[in-house]
Amino acid sequence: MTDKMKLGEREFASRLIVGTGKYRDLETMAEAIEASGAEIVTVAVRRVDLADSSSGSLLSRIDTKRVTLLPNTAGCYTAKDAIRYARLAREAGFSEFVKLEVIGDEKTLFPDNEALLEATRILVKEGFTVLPYTNDDPVVCQKLQDLGAAAVMPLGAPIGSGLGIQNPHNLSIIRELISVPLIVDAGVGTASDAAIAMELGADGVLMNTGIAGAKDPVGMARAMRLAVEAGRAAFLAGRIPRRKYATASTPSEGMLV
């Protein structure tokens, strides 16, 4: 199959990006990543904790030859902080990819788009492949594209809320207005949410809590992989139009009298 998702200079067969946070243990995380089929996984940048002997073990469970790490700037509330984390991530890491988050409100974890645009501008100049977490604002998405973001990643619903795509209309508009990849980031609660995102024309879906918080994270990871593939396939196959009334699937010719 040649239906690849291209981000920056890299191509990916999988359109599902998964997080590594909130798992009960690294074993489950590793199995869930495997079941998800993801080729990109997000990670966070935090201080080494000398008291924690498990330090460093995250990377021991991720096959970084097969999987691209996507460091985030979660927890940053200013462009300056986000840029600082992005630079550290590049230094520690394996690539120039960054999931850029600049948070504007701690209850909703919605982005501060002014600061996000500023950070995007600077990081793009520094050669980063910037994947910005934003909200479903078509104007901001266009500005991000104009600044050189490698994709736009509007939220479907608040991070970790599991509410699904709250505004399909905006995502549909964004899809039509921008040409860089569109990745729905945040809000996915169950498989159909991911399928809906893909059917709206998204190039990919990013999620963490929806998998890690499920009763059976590995089972849900598999569900999400299937759902993203299903939604993509349906998008490409071209759905039937909606009709108000019924239209028989069985012919009326040849009935008995």
């Binding site: 909130k22 990670v43 940048v45 080494v48 330090s55 630079r87 230094e91 520690a92």
Partner: protein, 70 residues
Amino acid sequence: MRRQIEIVFNGTSRMIPDAWSVDELLSDLELSGAPVAVELNERIVPREHWASRALCEGDRLEVVHFVGGG
């Protein structure tokens, strides 16, 4: 015996031998081979400078790595 200096390592005060390089400190902490990044006084120290960059009294050192996140 070498003089000790005080630096701030990941937000916590720490005494180390005077003029230790970044690399000496990280080796001592068994972090020199780990996939970590180092920031000294808010400027990144690339891995290839760890050996040559000596630490001074009052230096604020941040050593970060990747943890689970979404």
